[in-house]
Assembly symmetry: C2
Homo-oligomer: 119 residues x 2
DNA sequence: TGACAAAATGCGCATGTGCGCATATCGTCT
DNA sequence: AGACGATATGCGCACATGCGCATTTTGTCA
């Protein structure tokens, strides 16, 4: 495979990470503060298996970072570029939707901008 | 399904469009000037069926635009935001690769910045 | 040590997706 | 109209992916 082909594969893999609704929900759940698997599971009404697996995948992809503390595993965003891209995509999609649609409002607030590191 | 769920689905679908190496190659092939299906097929050494299908998908996704002229169909980029995002991703990924790797150079040149509309 | 809680993983199933072959559709030219 | 070229699409196959169940692994606490 040529160098170029490898490059395309890498970029495709990067996009793949965020091409799944559940992974986006997880990203959204931890985009403001780190959370444990259990917290995410409860917040999203998902199964522990599924959340854990998606987190592992995102971890391999370098999107999230893991911190172990006793029994629990805390996950947080590791790739802020990814967050920024998600924000851009939300804005882009919202631009194609009727102004009055509630969906539009939801999109624009999906990924909040990071506030300056408060204490 | 809640409004939020719909939003996540839309964003995931948007990412899905570019999570495929062949589609990225096609995007790359037409990112500077519009081309016919045949031209792309020859340039990428791909089959007509596959290129046509991927173009259709990207067209539905609003990423490319179609222009019919006689027998042929010209495709061009319709979503410049998508191009910008691809550039960002390439830069992001290149940042994780050894400086001397040729792959890195390839990534940074994958999606050239648009030149000012000449003429 | 044993019981318990949190998280990760092997397995199988259902569905999604990329691909090529053959064919259909559409436009051109004689 | 008939032949030809360009593009789109129905069909089936091979493989990837998301999911849940059951189990394992890892750490805590009595």
């Amino acid at each position: 495979m040529s160098e170029l082909d490898q490059a395309f594969d890498l970029v495709a893999a990067y996009f793949s990470v965020m091409s799944e609704p559940m992974r986006l929900k997880i990203l959204h759940a931890i985009c403001e503060k780190e959370k444990t698997v259990s917290e995410i599971v409860e917040e999203l009404n998902a199964t522990q298996t599924n959340v854990s697996r998606h987190l592992s995948l995102m971890h391999r992809g370098g999107v999230v970072a893991r911190r172990k503390e006793g029994n629990q595993a805390f996950y947080r965003i590791a790739d802020t570029v990814m967050l920024e891209i998600c924000r851009t995509v939300c804005t882009r999609i919202a631009g194609h939707i009727d102004e009055r649609a509630p969906l539009r409002r939801g999109l624009l607030k999906l990924i909040p901008k990071p506030r300056h590191k408060s204490a």
